[in-house]
Amino acid sequence: MLKYILKRVLYMVLTLWIVITITFFLIHAIPGNPLASLARNLPPQVRANYYAKYGLDKSVPQQYVMFLKNLFHGDLGESLKFPGRSVTDIISEHAPISARLGIQAILIGVIVGIVLGIIAGFKRNRWPDHLVMFVAILGVCLPSFVLAALLQYILSVKIELFPTAGWGTGKYTVLPTIALCFGSIATYARYMRSSVLDVINQDYILTAKAKGISNFSLIWKHVIRNAIIPAITILPPQIAGIFGGSFVIESIFAIPGLGSNLVDAVNNRDYTVIMGLTIFYCALYIISLLVVDILYGVVDPRVRVSEDTTE
C-alpha cells in the first residue's frame, strides 16, 4: 500500500510539472502584458527598470527557469497588479473562505443527496421516488446563479431573513451554501438511486433478508457500501471545486473567495497570480484523486491493492 501511494505521489509531481509548464507558456502566449496599464505613462528608463524588477525583460524560457527555481524554494512570487501582495498571502487569505463555503455545500450535498437517493431507490415508482426525481431534475437543470438570484430576492430582499451579500458570521453562508449544494444534491440523488436499484436486486441482499437482518443493518452494511462507489467517483472534482469556489456565486453574494481572484488575475494578465492559483488548484485536484482512490479501498475490499499486484 505504501509503495502504491509513493508511486502515485511521484506521478502526481510529474503531472503537476506538466500542467505548470503548459500553463506557463500558454499564459505568456496570449497578447497583453500585466504592466501595460501601470507602466503606461512612465519615462522609458523607469519603465525598463520596472519590467526588469519582475523579470519581464527576459525571454520567456528564461522566465520559466526563474519561475521553477523560485517555486522549488516554495516562493510563488508577488502579484504584478497589486505590488506587495504575495500569491501565498492571496491563497491563505481567500482559500479558507471558499473552503468553508465549499465544505458546507459538499457535506450537505453529499449527505442529503445520498439519503434522498436511497429513499428513492427503495420506494421506486411510488410518490417519494417521483418527488425526489422531480427535485433532482430541477437541481440539474436550474443553473446555480438563477437559484442564487431567486434565493437572494425572496429570502433577503422580500423576507429579510438573511443578509443579501457579504462575508462575516454563519448566517452570511446560508444562502450561498443552498445555492451551491442544490446541484450536488440532485446529482448524488440520481447516482445513488440507480446504484441502489442495481444492488437491491443482487442475490446477497436476498440472502441477508432471508437471514432476518434488520432494515437498518441491511441498508447500512450491504446496500450503502456497495452502492456508494459511483458516487465516490464524482467526488474529486467537487473537492477541488471547494477551494476554487464558484466564481458566479461568489460574485452574486460578494464573497471574497478564490474564484474571483483567479478571474481578475486572468483579465489583468497577472502572471504570478495565475500561475500560483493554477498550481494550487491542480495540486488539490490530484491529491483529492489519490484520496478517493484510497477511499475506494476502505469502502470496497474488492478494490484494495494487494502486495503481489504491485510487484
Partner: protein
C-alpha cells in the same frame, strides 16, 4: 516643508490636490517597501478617517482619526465600504437598507429608486470625458475631413440616452464643464468647438466623400471597412460597440468591424499604433485644463494617434509657463480649436457624470471633483430608523 519650482506654474496649488502629491511618511514607506498600502496595517492616514480593517474583495472599515487637525468637525465614528461586484446585488442591498449610499447606473434600478421618497438621487459632473480617436498612420484617417466626418457622425444626444441612460451630457468640447482656469469656469466662457463644426457641416457624409477625393481614393464609402478596437470583452462593451458601429454605418455608409480584446491588450495595441479607430475615457487629475491638454503634445505618449502640431505644442507650453490667467485661457481656447475644429484629432462623446442614491437620513456628504470618491468629513446621519 519647502518646495522649489523650476519655473512659474499658475496651477501649482491645484496640482497639490492630485493623488500623487499626497503626503507620505518617508521612514515607513522605506521600511515597508512594496507592502506600503497593500494592507490596513501598512496604511497610514492624516485625513479625517483612518483605515482600520481591510478584508480584500469584501470590505474596508474606516474609523475616525483622533489625530486629524480638524477632528472636532468629524461626526461619524465609522464608515464601512462594501466591495460588491454584482450591480444587482448592490442595488438589492441598497433597497433593503443594508447600504446607505450606493452608485446605481442600471436603468431598471434607476427607475425603481427614483420613485422612492426616502432616497435622494445625486448625479454630478466628473472631470471626465469619453472619446473616440483615430490612428493617423492609417491612410484613411490621415485626412482631417474624414476625421471630422467621424466626429460628427454620432448623435450624442441620443447616445447619452441610449448608452448611458441619461447619466452624462453630450460633449462638443474636450474640456468638461467643471474645469476652471484660475477662478473662471472654462466652459462658461469658451464655446464648444464641435458645435461650430456641426453647424457648418450638417451632413458628415459629404465631409467623408470630400476627404476621400482629397486622398485620391474611391469616393464610395460602402467600399471602406474600418476596424474598431474595443478594450473589453464583456456584454457592456459589446453593447457600446454595436451602437457606435450602427451609428457610423448609418451616418457615413462605411462598414465597421468591431474587435474585442482585453484591456491590457488594448493599451498595448494603442501604444504601438496597432489600431484604426478606438474609444476610451480620460479622467482629469487636477482642476486645470492642462490635465486634458498636455496629453496631446508631441511625444507625450498618453494616447497615440500619430498627430503632431507645432502651434498646439507652443500654445500649451505657453499656458504651462504663463501666470496670466487671461492669457492661459486664450491659449487653451485656441488649442482646443485646433484639436477638435481644425484637425479633429479626437472625437469627444460625452462629459461623464456620477450617479448614486442615498437615503435621506444621510446628510452632508460631498463628492470633491478630484479626490477618492465621496468625502465623509462633515457627513452624519439623522433620524435613521
Amino acid at each position: 516643508m519647502e518646495i522649489t519650482l523650476e519655473g512659474p506654474c499658475a496651477y501649482f496649488e491645484k496640482l497639490l490636490a492630485f493623488k500623487t502629491m499626497y503626503p507620505q511618511r518617508k521612514d515607513l514607506v522605506e521600511e515597508w517597501g512594496d507592502k506600503a498600502g497593500s494592507e490596513a496595517e501598512y496604511t497610514i492616514s492624516c485625513g479625517p478617517f483612518k483605515l482600520e480593517k481591510w478584508t480584500h474583495k469584501s470590505e474596508l472599515v474606516l474609523v475616525k482619526n483622533e489625530n486629524y487637525w480638524d477632528a472636532d468637525k468629524v461626526k461619524l465614528d465609522k464608515v464601512t465600504y462594501k466591495i460588491v461586484e454584482d450591480p444587482n446585488t448592490a442595488s438589492n442591498m441598497l433597497s433593503n437598507g443594508q447600504l446607505d449610499i450606493c452608485a446605481v447606473s442600471k436603468p431598471e434600478w434607476l427607475e425603481k429608486f427614483k420613485q422612492r421618497d426616502d432616497m435622494t438621487y445625486v448625479s454630478e459632473f466628473e472631470p471626465s470625458v469619453a472619446y473616440q480617436f483615430f490612428n493617423q498612420e492609417v491612410e484613411l484617417f490621415s485626412n482631417a475631413n474624414i476625421r471630422k466626418a467621424f466626429a460628427l457622425a454620432v448623435d450624442k444626444e441620443e447616445l447619452v440616452d441610449v448608452l448611458y441612460y441619461g447619466i452624462g451630457e453630450p460633449a462638443y468640447g474636450w474640456i468638461p464643464p467643471v474645469m476652471k482656469v484660475g477662478d473662471k469656469t472654462y466652459r462658461d466662457v469658451v464655446e464648444e468647438p464641435l458645435k461650430k463644426l456641426q453647424e457648418e457641416n450638417p451632413d458628415p457624409k459629404e465631409l467623408l466623400i470630400k476627404g476621400l477625393e482629397e486622398l485620391g481614393m474611391d469616393p464610395d464609402p460602402s467600399k471602406i471597412t474600418i476596424n474598431m478596437l474595443e478594450g473589453g470583452t464583456d456584454p457592456e462593451t459589446r453593447r457600446f460597440a454595436e451602437y457606435y458601429q450602427q451609428a457610423y454605418e448609418t451616418a457615413l455608409g462605411v462598414n465597421i468591424k468591431a474587435e474585442y480584446v482585453d484591456w491590457p491588450v488594448f493599451l498595448d495595441r494603442v501604444q504601438n499604433m496597432d489600431y484604426e479607430l478606438a474609444g476610451m475615457g480620460w479622467m482629469g487629475d487636477y482642476d486645470d485644463p492642462m490635465t486634458f491638454m498636455d496629453m496631446w503634445m508631441t511625444g507625450s505618449e498618453m494616447s497615440n494617434t500619430g498627430w503632431s502640431n507645432k502651434e498646439y505644442d507652443e500654445l500649451i507650453k505657453k499656458a504651462q509657463e504663463s501666470l496670466d490667467e487671461e492669457e492661459r485661457l486664450e491659449c487653451f481656447k485656441r488649442a482646443e480649436e485646433i484639436l477638435l475644429y481644425e484637425d479633429a484629432v479626437i472625437a469627444p462623446v460625452i462629459y461623464r457624470k456620477s450617479s448614486r442614491f442615498q437615503y435621506n437620513y444621510v446628510k452632508d456628504t460631498m463628492k470633491p471633483l478630484f479626490g477618492s470618491g465621496i468625502e465623509f468629513k462633515y457627513a452624519y446621519t439623522q433620524d435613521r430608523k
